[in-house]
Each structure stands twice: as C-alpha cells, then as structure tokens.
Amino acid sequence: MAVQSDSGGKDDVKTQFVTREGTYRLMTLSEYSRPNRVGYTSGSGSTHVRVSLVTLPPGAAPGSDGPTSEDRICFNHGKELYVYVYKGIKKAADLTKPVDKKMYKGTNPTCHDFNTVTMTPDSVSLVIGFSTGQIQLIDPIKKELSKLYNEERLIDKSRVTCIKWVPGSSNLFIAAHASGQLYVYNEELTCGTTAPQYQLFKHGDGYSIHTCRTKSTRNPLYRWIIGAESCINEFAFSPCGTNLAVVSQDGFLRCFHYDTMELVGRARSYFGGFLCVCWSPDGKYVVVGGEDDLVTVWSFSERRVVARGQGHRSWVSVVAFDPYIVSLGEPDTEDTREDKSESAQSYRLGSVSQDTQLCFWDLTEDVLKPAVRARASTHLSPNSNNICSNGIPSTKVLQKCPKNNKIGHKHAELGGNNAAGEPSAAKAAKSKTNNISTLNINVGKAKEEASGSLGVNFTQRLAALSFGERRSDHRRNFSLTKSTDKSSAANTVALRGKSAGAQTNDSCDPVKLIGTPSCPRFDECPVLEPLVCKKIAHERLTALLFRSEYFITACADGCVNTWSRPLRSAPGPTRRDRVDLTD
C-alpha cells in the first residue's frame, strides 16, 4: 500500500504517521476480520465492532511448534463473533482457522470481556452481551462452557452496551444496558424463572441501587439505575478497581466508589451524550468522549473538568490512555519545559471517532496543574461557590465538604486578587506564583484526607500503576444483611431529604450546570489541540487499545488493525532526538 503524504489529498487514509516519538505504521499483514469479506455488507443495526484482547499465562504448550502467541483476540461484527490467536505486529493468524467462531440468529453480540483472573494457559472465560439483552458466558478455547443469563429477557430487554468482569473477581461481572441500568451478576448463580422483584438498597442524587427480594441469592445481585432511563454507553473501573466511572446518553459522567456505592463526582458534557470513558493509568484523571465531538478531561481529585480536547469532526467513540508513553514522556519534560516542577507528568491519550480519524493528545502538566484552576476560577460566577466541588451532597462527601469549600474560597480570593490587578498578565502570573505554593499544599492535604476516607492510599495507587495488574487483596462483601452498610444508606437518604429541596433538582439540569466545575463554559476551560489527527479508515472507528509494542484499532466494517509503535531506542537514560511534529 502506498504511503500517503499529507500534502496530497486531505482525505487519504493514512497507513503511517509521525509523532515526536517516531513513526507509527499500519501492519497491513496483521489485519483481522471475518475470513471471507466478499459480498458482506455491514447489514442492519449498529455496527459497533469491539475488540477484547487477553494474554494467557504462559504454560507448557503441548504441541511446541515454534513460539505461538499467548494472546487471544475477540471481536464482534454484525451477527458474528470471532476469537483468534493474536500475533501482534506479526502476520495475522490464518483467518480461516479461528479459535472460535459464533454466529447468532435474531440478535447481535455487542460487547465482550475476557476474565483475566480465572484464565489458564488453555482456558478462558469470555462473557458476551447481546443487542437483545441476553448475556452469554463461553470458553472459546475449551468450548465446554456455555451459560446464558437474562435468557428470557426477564431482567432487561434492552441492548447490552458494555460488559466487564469486576476487577480481581473470578465470578462477578457487570452488564450495562441501553435502558440506563447496570446489573451485577455472579456467573455461578442462576437468573431465576420469574422476573426479579427488587427492593431499594441505596439511593442518591440521580441514581438508585436495588437488590432482588428473594430468599435464595439469584442474579442480578444488584441493579443500579443511573440517570433517567437514558442509555448507559460505557463504564470503566479505575486502575486500582476502587472507583467506577459510568457515562450515559444523558450527558453525565458519574463516578462511584464501587464498594460503598457512593457517588463521588460528576461531570456534564458540553452537550449531548457521553459515549466513552477511560481512566489515566494512575487513576488521577477520567477522560470521556461524546456527542459534542470533544474529549473531556476530568480530574478525580479536584472533581472538575480541567480541559477539553477539540479536534474530532464527529462523535468520539473511544478514548484510551497510552500507558506506555507516560513513562516515556517523563525524561523529556526535564529539558523541554521551563517549569521543572518535581511532580511534572504528562499523559498520552488516544481517541478515535466516527469521523474515521485517530487523534493523539498530550495532556501536559501546564494544562492539568492547579495553577490553571486558579486562573480559571476567576471566571467562575460567584454563585458557583455554594455548590461543593463535586456538586453532590452525600454523607461521605459531606464530611470533606468544608475542606473542599475552603479550597474553593481560597480560589475565589485568588481570583479576586488577580482580577483586581489584572491588566498585565505577567504581573498577575508573578503574584500568582506566591499564592500557588500555599494552594498546592492545601490541595495536597485535601487529597490525603480524601484518600484516607476512601481507604485508598494515593501513593499506593500510583505504585500499582502497571496496567493489567490487579490488586489481589481486593475483596467485596455481598452479604445483604451487612448492617453498617444499611445504616449508612439510611443516613444518606435522610441527609438527602434535607438537602433535596435546595439542590437536587438543579444539580441535574444542564442549563444550570453550565459554568460550574462539572461543566465549565467553553471559553473558561483550556482547550487542547490534538498532537496528531489522522484519517486511518474509510468507516467510523469503534475500538482503540494500547499495548507495549503496538496499538489496535477497529472500524465499523469489521476490520481490526494493528499499528506498530516507533522503534524504541535502547532502553535507559539515552535521550532520543526530538522529531518535529511534522509528517
């Protein structure tokens, strides 16, 4: 395939592109798709091709005919689902010999996930969600396992939009539906022969959680109703597995502490639904993409939107951090930035969209650091102070609220100062630096407190940064009679009752949220430009996964592509020459 140059037709599909770390190349021989694509039109229904990838533990491979890959790739297309041996940047496996292939009648597979806890060298559990609401559990390697959940659609009739195993769990998985509900299943339990009767377990601002009212435990263990019947588009666990971020068609990102089921933070799209969500590798940021064509960066610790990325020409379908660039980027920061703060860190983010383009974004410290916040807060309307930074009243958060508010006030003062002595930007910056140091301390303290109350040590979280590694001590208690939980739930309800009149209704109204930390006005929030923005397909893109040697994209026509990373110079302190951002 000829390599296109940017000077040519703008709409040419790129097979390679350059960033400062080097050249990414499409591995044209590593394309995975259905074996015979001739005469196959994508047909009816939405064609959200998703990709799941798993690396099986190395085992004594019985037939040792050369170095076979431990990776397995799964993707869906229309009514079909394929599992192949995945060979990365090497030539693709024989497409006529899939590990497993499924063809469904009357329903389409929509999403899937491998269980990385129970997998062995020769078995893995794959859970699959369908457009008609059912869920299937199979072992594509051993082929012995096949279980169905929600088979009679008694639990939910709507499309499964996202399905994932609970981090670290051998048997719990979560399925989100277009109905706006999210269910926790235990794969060992049955779904019963009648429609589940629910009882309220917990509820908060814009969500409620229910359990089944039965003597014997059955599926679903929990039902989460999030928002007002608006489709949940995706959810993602934080890298440490503690927090669950959920994005919906109602334009909200809601971040929950998974075990306590408390809503810890929220963001609103500029407009339209949020379609995709991911966490930064250190769990500090949540990035969402949506129908506003934007990539929105939300700070978990500050509970506010810190930046928006504008570059896509249509809806953003997938966002994903590249965890391998975080570490790569760091040595660079020393010599390229004037600001040599010790906490200097930048992140690499990737996004793909219905516009058939791939974008890379650098989230750098100058955008993310709180100094920007001080500047931004000068624009905040005065009444935004009485909404605590996450905008949500709840027991847990209430305890922290005074602290948060204090910070908020500090900012307000700061803002006032700056505004007063504003005209010269340089002067303002000077006066700011003094204040910022104190400010940082404050924020740091708040963080410590927050992490304390959540029972998660932030440094620990950072240490456990490496992708794919699960916290082994992560346990969940699903006993329904746990009295402490109940009483705290009751507390929440009572508290909410008090505050409801004052805040609850307003807090969900996007017209009123504009100009608050959950949805700053467009000119009040830093706008990022993509590092690169390349058209890489003819059809809309639906998947993006980063691995150490390559990244994977998929598009609506059912093609899964592998892109090789730039050749890495010898690992270690050797510094690569910076390549200008041209191509």
């Binding site: 709409d11 639904g273 504009i514 467009f522 003819h538 809309r540």
Partner: protein, 377 residues
Amino acid sequence: MSICQDLGLNFQQRMGATASQLEKDIGSEQFPPNEHYFGLVNFGNTCYSNSVLQALYFCRPFRDKVLEYKAKNKRTKETLLTCLADLFYSIATQKKKVGSIAPKKFIARLRKEKEEFDNYMQQDAHEFLNFLINHINEIILAERNQSTLKLQKTTGSGESVTCNGTVPQNSEPTWVHEIFQGTLTSETRCLNCETVSSKDEHFFDLQVDVDQNTSITHCLKCFSDTETLCNDNKFKCDNCSSYQEAQKRMRVKKLPLILALHLKRFKYMEQYNRHIKVSHRVVFPLELRLFNTSDDAVNPDRLYDLVAVVVHCGSGPNRGHYISIVKSHGFWLLFDDDMVDKIDASAIEDFYGLTSDIQKSSETGYILFYQSRDASC
C-alpha cells in the same frame, strides 16, 4: 415519491389500521392529553409541504403562536397564514387522538400564492420552509402596518418593509422573528490596512455544507471558518477605498429560539448538469450548543434540543419523498404523509446518511429544528 393515484382507497385502508396501532404503541395511559397526532394527506407530491408543516406543528412556540393568531383574528381575509392557522386549529381540536387530515385549503392557497408551487412536481422542502416563514412574517407585518395606519393616519407608514429575513431597524419584531430569527455577524479584516469591519445580518435558518463522516457540530464550525476573499471576490475596503484581499468569517451573535439548520445535500454537479444528492453521513445529537458564536454573543451557552427533522428519502432533489420525525412529550414520531408511527429514539441514526456512495438512494436528515431549552420550561 410516486404520486398516490390510488390515494383514496389506499388511504382509507391504511387509516383504520395505523390509527389504532399508533394509539396502541403509545398506550392509552401514556397518550399525552390535548395532543393529536394527525397525518396529512398527500395531494400529489405535496410531501415537501406535509413534512415541513408537521415539523413546524411540533415546534411548540410556533404552534402556540399560530393558534393564538387563529384565536385573535376571527374574520380576516384568507391568507396563507389563516389557512395554516385553520389547519393547526383543526389538528388541535380533533375529537380523535390520531388519524389524518387533508390540508386542502392550505395547499390550494399555497398554489395561488406562489407560482413555483402551483404544479404537481416535487419541490424542495427547504425552499418551501423559507417561503412559508418569510411569507407569514410579511403577512403579520402587513397586518400590523394596516392597523397602525388606521390608528394614526398622521404619519405615513414610514419605512418600507422588505422582509428577507430582516427586520427594519425601528420596527418591533414579529413573533416569527422572535421564534426563528438569529443574528450573524460577519467580521472582515482587510489584509491591506488590517481594519476589521463587522456587519450584522439576520437569518431564519443556517445553511451548512455537509462533509462525509462528520457531525452537524463540525459542519457549523466549518460554516464559521475564516474565508479569504481574493481574486474575483475581493472585498471593497472603505478604509483603503479600493478592492482588497480580506479575511472574512461569520459567527452567530444572537442565537434564535428555534435554530433551523438546512443541510445542503443538493449539490450542482457540472459534469451531470444537474443537482446531485449528497448522502454523506452527518450525525446530529439530540442536544446541541454552538461553538461558532461571536465574542459579543448575547446568549452563547444556549442549550438546544432536537425537536424535529425533515428527512429526504431518495436519490435526487426532483425525485424522492419527504417525511419528518418529531419529538412530542418525550417520544419520537414519524410522519409519512397520512401515516404516523411511533419510533424509538435509536432509530434516528437511520437518518444520518451513508458512509459509502455505492447506494443511490438514502434517507437523510435535511432540515433540523433545534429548540432552545429555556423556551420550553
């Protein structure tokens, strides 16, 4: 649209079935009180009118004003506006909740008012909308002038009223202005003297070019991209007193209550010597804010909800069919002439367009109606 020659028969057969089906689909408890879903009978290629009328009927501020007009103006001479008011009134006061109605008087009047529509050919729905809005506005202005003339004969009518989406400066805006009119500000920077001049102009709808695999948001941004005026298209700079190269961009200064967006899907192609339909996939969200507002915009944060879409089905401007999808009380309805169906919101994606050019025919969003949220509550 094939002209329904067997219209009478076909229509009666269909009506009974669909009418009850729609009620069943919505459910008697869910059926909104005081709301009527009535299809409009096709009088031979009048779907361009039917689709636009349905969309307008479900733009609540517009419907309310038309019905208010009907209530206030009991006996005036027949105009297109009185015909429209009678039609809306007739739908709104039906005993049945669903059914169909023949907009006979309206179509007859339309054919009298405008020669171009006085035939049985397919017309452009956007041209019709444009004509209708402007024409109604003129009627209101004319009636107002008449009444002011009656009241105070001392001063003459003063300024002449030319209404091509513009309001004479010292004239009160009409309700049509209040609903549909926005303001564009075009800033032109002369590349010779660097002087920036800006000029405001009013609009009833924005006409945007469509690109493949984009969103309406992107199309609107492109609408406001900086354009360089050069060669034959130079800018007459008052400061330089000569034609100069200049940069120009148009941004929205006042956001209308109802934002009508016309997707320019009919492109003139020289090689074919005719208009060709551009079926590009352009997604449109149910909720919208504008990025292309000017720095001095009055209400740049205005949040819009999609309330109606006029959809073109077929392969070209002179063939094909128009239907409309509208939002009413939280659910979506599809109006296809005399037929009305409840549809799922997820079915809207069927009208975004096509990602490849292989298929000749497509069902694509053609005119989008976004209503400001502060208007409805």
